[in-house]
């Protein structure tokens, strides 16, 4: 029920991207689905349950914020969704493809073709300029946009030939976003994208993410432990101790510029 209401909402929000087939019910596509996913680190007495049975669906075109304290399992789930890690048990689907037992090679291809990552510490290659950091992705993607275009999307046209060490944290994160979107990914997975930034820079970065989401309909998952950010999301998924404690649909979303923390 909840899902159907949300799906209709999304269709209104993204008329262009979500044009439904004639006569069909207005139901948003499920991009990711997990079923009782667990992740255990260590063995014996030192076992740590990072995820303790997570069931979740993520829909095309939504901005989902995963909220929760450190160690609640947000990043672990993000890594599993992004094909960076395997679940200990349970199943994970990306559309019709089950990721659960995909071999390494197939996971690499999945990441290469479908997923864009944004990290808290940007993870730019220090020896490459902004443009080249983006080209790192466009070189291996099947249908990328030009690196310059990706950088223009994040407002960095005039900083393209700067090295990471010559840019501010906000600029570096925008390069990281440009790098993530340059491959025209279906999903953007952002792990604490504003975690290392001050609030005004953080807002700029969130504006870029929202802009990308609106223009390209990219499903965007943002991990944060900053509760204020949840108000820009379509849905807020709350984590506690490796489990989903609540899922809230925002009836009224705020623009990033309206956020304060």
């Amino acid at each position: 029920m909840l899902v159907n209401v949300f799906a209709r909402m999304l269709c209104q929000a993204h008329g262009r991207a979500m044009e439904p087939a004639k006569g069909a019910t207005h139901v948003a596509e499920i991009v990711f689905r997990t079923q009782d996913v667990t992740k255990v680190y260590g063995t014996g007495e030192a076992r740590i349950y990072a995820l303790g049975g997570v069931d979740l669906e993520l829909f095309a075109g939504e901005i989902a914020v995963l909220l929760g304290p450190s160690g609640s399992g947000k990043s672990t789930l993000l890594n599993i969704l992004g094909g960076l890690d395997h679940a200990t048990s349970g199943r994970v689907w990306f559309r019709d493809t089950e990721l659960t037992d995909l071999p390494d090679r197939a996971l690499t291809k999945f990441r290469r073709d479908h997923v864009g990552f944004v990290f808290q510490f940007y993870n730019l290659v220090p020896s490459l300029t902004a443009r080249e950091n983006v080209q790192l992705v466009t070189d291996v993607s099947p249908d990328p946009m030009p690196a310059e275009e990706a950088l223009a999307q994040v407002g960095l046209t005039d900083r393209m030939d700067h090295f990471p060490s010559e840019m501010s944290g906000g600029e570096q994160q925008r390069v990281a976003i440009a790098r993530a979107i340059a491959k025209r990914p279906e999903i953007l997975l952002c792990d604490e994208p504003t975690g290392a930034l001050d609030s005004s820079t953080g807002v700029q970065v969130l504006e870029v993410l929202q802009d990308i989401n609106e223009r390209f309909g990219t499903t965007t998952v943002i991990i944060t432990h900053n509760a204020d950010i949840q108000r820009m999301a379509h849905r807020v998924i709350q984590f506690q101790d490796g489990k989903i404690s609540s899922v809230v649909i925002n009836d009224e979303r705020l623009a990033p510029s309206e956020l304060v923390w």
Binding site: N79, G82, L84, D85, D104, R105, T108, K109, R111, R112, D113, V115, G116, F117, F119, F121, N123, V125, S127, L128, E132, N133, V134, Q135, L136, V137, T138, D139, V140, S141, R179, K183
Partner: protein, 787 residues
């Protein structure tokens, strides 16, 4: 260019100092491989071609006087392809403008033109007219050294007759690639020359008409040389044969052979050491790079680069080191080859020595370097490929330290925390510590091993020239002379003292062992040419006995009191049983010594001598030379003072250059190991050390922690390096020892001190270079950097 390739090039540019430190070590390996292998193939191929084209003989024999008809019988031996009989002899020359007497080796040229075997290559002019008694051809180097032009003349003492000879041409010969005169230790073209003269003139001069005294034989492929030598000996023994021998005992060829073997050793022993050290350095540096680039590796994988692409990326980074090393190595190798070629040109007389290094040698050295870096980087690259992206993104777990017995011991010793940090890190990475120590020990041994030559040669010169052979000159006669020649020579100008000596070619046998050598017989109490025992005292050989050099005794497997059979070659070819009464350490040749009167009585001959040792008054030496040129039967004068000087000069030059090269190599290894080690320490510990600085440690205290480990390992490496160096020196001494020389192992303490001095100094300098980086580091920024 792809972005990943740009990253590769920029990373390489950023790491250039470390990369260069490794590349230089690797370049040494490439250069030595290129030079050694290149020169080895060039020299051996050139020799083969020269021998083939100029039909260098396979078997040689000298006889007293054999009738010409024997040539037919020799040619009829199954397996003999060609026979060349000649008349040869040594003679004293009087070269205009050269106040010293010169020795010439006269070879007859067949009446019908050029020889069938050992064919000389005409360099300038023409062959002498076969009917002429005054025309000669000389070896080109002799002509150059004495400033001869075609048509110039010099005189020769031909069997007691002084004759004026005219040069019609100059030549080179496969028999005389290494031209060494009788009694000389080094080639000297100014005082020894080869003279080709038409057969009738030589025969007349040496009273050999219808006869010969020298035979060369070329064999057909695949026949047994031993069997043919036995057959030749059977035919020629009645004519005073000194025994047939193969190419392996030919003086010129055996010197080239020794050089070729040395090049082969150089190409096969040294480069692997450099490649090994380089591989270790690459693995150390690449391991660290991958640690530092964990998050980048995670990112590359996150954005879709495959494991293979990541692995290749790091292998290519290491490959770039190989590219630089190969560039430097080829450059230096080319230079070394030219240097070596210059040396060969000085000692070896080839008409067409090709010093072109073939492409496959370049390919081999290049591929070897690439394999080295690839091998060194493989572990790190595989680790990068295997790194799970999710884990790579997280900061690495701190290295695991466990309390052990060592920690308890350190606690009991009440060491300071910085010292504990140093020691704990040593034991935490034992393989790295051990390999670093080994690398530095190899640097030490690189200096130690060849340094012994200097001292060994000093000892040789001391023993050979100041203890045993103290004569100023040796006067060699064409055949044994009566004792009365001593009084004749004593009357010559400048001569202060004369002593006679008899030389007898023999084959010594004991059981299955046998060795061809020369017995030197003298009277008891001689002072100029002495036999020195192990205590340094002069030894008189008792009648009935023979004293052998230790190497000869070892070769024959005999000791004092054992008996050896001595076959006296030439003459009646008698065999006598002799008792070994002593052995002596001697560094030149494989000598055997007997009492002169005993030899005379054994061979039932009147008292006679083959050479006269003299001591001279320097002021009158030129007068002596002027007179010597006119003494009949005198065939050669060996000026021991010249020999001594040229030996010392040559040794000094080559040893000096060699030691310099090895010191440079040791410095490169040391810098390669310590600089990279210290840089890695710095990058691993930057945060830790910055924290300490923030806590109030001084720069010096922090440097102590950082470099204590590297310098401690340098110290530990010293005794190991000394030991390895001594082992290598021992192996080198053995490999250099041959029938020509016996290389003593002299390990003077100064050798070890010098090696340690250079290596410790280089270690310290490398560490100080890294310390400058530490000093420049901004503490706050270091602390902010996320691992």
């Amino acid at each position: 260019m792809q972005a990943l390739d740009r990253k590769l090039l920029r990373d390489f540019a950023r790491l250039w100092k470390q990369a260069l430190a490794i590349a230089l070590v690797l370049a040494c390996g490439v250069a030595i491989l290129l030079t050694g292998l290149g020169m080895y193939t060039a020299l051996s191929e050139t020799r083969e071609t020269y021998y083939e084209r100029n039909r260098f003989a396979d078997v040689f024999v000298t006889v007293n006087r054999a009738p010409e008809r024997l040539a037919v019988e020799l040619a009829a031996i199954d397996g003999v392809w060609a026979v060349e009989t000649r008349t040869t002899g040594n003679t004293v020359l009087d070269v205009p403008g050269n106040p010293r007497s010169v020795t010439g080796r006269i070879l007859s040229l067949p009446i019908d033109g050029t020889p069938r075997l050992n064919v000389p290559v005409l360099t300038t002019g023409r062959l002498p007219d076969p009917t002429s008694t005054t025309e000669v051809m000389v070896n080109a180097n002799f002509a150059i050294a004495n400033g001869f032009a075609l048509g110039d003349t010099f005189s020769a003492n031909l069997n007691g007759q002084k004759r004026q000879l005219t040069i019609t041409g100059t030549a080179q010969s496969p028999e005389f690639i290494y031209t060494i005169g009788p009694g000389a230790l080094m080639p000297d073209n100014a005082t020894f020359g080869i003279i080709w003269m038409p057969q009738p003139a030589v025969a007349a001069a040496f009273d050999m008409t219808g006869a010969f005294n020298d035979v060369s034989l070329k064999l057909t492929a695949g026949v047994s040389r031993m069997a043919i030598i036995a057959e030749v000996d059977r035919l020629l023994d009645p004519y005073g044969s000194l025994g047939a021998y193969g190419r392996d005992l030919h003086p010129s060829d055996s010197f080239i052979d020794a050089e070729i073997a040395q090049l082969r050793n150089m190409a096969s022993i040294l480069p692997p050491i450099f490649f090994g050290i380089s591989a270790f350095l690459v693995s150390m540096v690449m391991g660290r790079i991958i640690m530092l680039e964990r998050s980048q590796i995670g990112l590359l994988k996150a954005v879709g680069y495959s494991n293979l692409e990541v692995c290749l990326h790091y292998l290519m980074l290491a490959g770039l080191i190989a590219v630089v090393a190969v560039g430097i190595g080829w450059g230096v190798g080319g230079w070394l080859a030219r240097l070596l070629a210059g040396q060969y040109a000085q000692y070896f007389d080839f008409p067409f020595l090709i010093f072109r290094t073939s492409p496959w040698v370049y390919a081999v050295s290049g591929i070897a370097a690439l394999l080295t870096t690839t091998l060194g980087a493989t572990q790190a690259a595989i680790k990068a490929a295997r790194l799970a992206p999710a884990i790579a993104m997280q900061p690495p777990a701190p290295p695991k330290f466990k309390r052990s017995l060592i920690d308890r011991a350190m606690a009991n010793m009440r060491l300071s925390q910085p010292t504990v940090m140093i020691l704990r890190s040593l034991f935490r990475w034992p393989v790295r510590s051990a390999l670093t120590t080994l690398g530095l020990a190899l640097a030490v041994s690189t200096i130690v091993a060849p340094s012994f030559f200097d001292y060994a040669l000093d000892k040789i010169v001391d023993s050979a020239f100041y203890e045993s052979n103290r004569q100023d000159a040796m006067l060699v006669f064409s055949h044994d002379m009566p004792q009365s020649v001593l009084s004749t020579t004593a009357a010559l100008p400048a001569v202060l003292q004369t002593e006679g000596q008899q030389f007898h070619p023999v084959i010594l046998r004991s059981g299955i062992h046998e060795k061809r050598t020369t017995i030197q017989a003298s009277h008891p109490g001689t002072d100029l040419s002495r036999v020195i025992d192990s205590t340094g005292a002069a030894l008189d050989v008792p009648p009935g006995g023979v004293v052998l050099t230790e190497r000869l005794a070892m070769h024959l497997d005999v000791g004092i009191g054992d008996r050896v059979a001595a076959e006296f070659l030439g003459g009646r070819k008698e065999t006598h049983i002799l008792t070994v009464t002593g052995t002596i350490a001697q560094y030149f040749g494989l000598g055997a010594y007997m009492d002169l009167d005993y030899v005379n009585s054994l061979l039932r001959q009147s008292s006679r001598i083959s050479l006269v040792n003299v001591s001279l008054d320097d002021a009158e030496v030129l007068d002596l030379h002027a007179r010597l040129k006119d003494i009949p039967n005198l065939v050669s004068i060996v000026m021991m003072s010249d020999t001594r000087r040229s030996f010392s000069d040559t040794i000094e030059q080559s040893i000096g250059a060699m030691n310099l090269v090895y010191i440079i190599i040791a410095l490169l290894i040391t810098v390669g190991v310590t600089y990279n080690g210290a840089r890695i320490q710095l990058s691993e510990r930057a945060r830790e050390l910055a924290s300490l600085r923030i806590l109030g440690f001084t720069r010096a205290e922090v440097s102590y922690i950082l470099f204590g480990e590297t310098l401690l390992l340098s110290l530990l490496a010293q005794p190991l390096g000394w030991w390895i160096g001594a082992q290598i020196a021992n192996a080198m001494a053995n490999s250099f020892s041959s029938d020509l020389y016996n290389m003593p192992l002299v390990l003077h303490p100064a050798i070890f001190a010098r090696a340690s001095f250079f290596v410790l100094l280089a270690s310290f300098a490398s560490v100080m270079l890294v310390r400058r980086r530490l000093d420049k580091q901004n503490l706050v920024s270091v602390m902010k950097v996320r691992e």
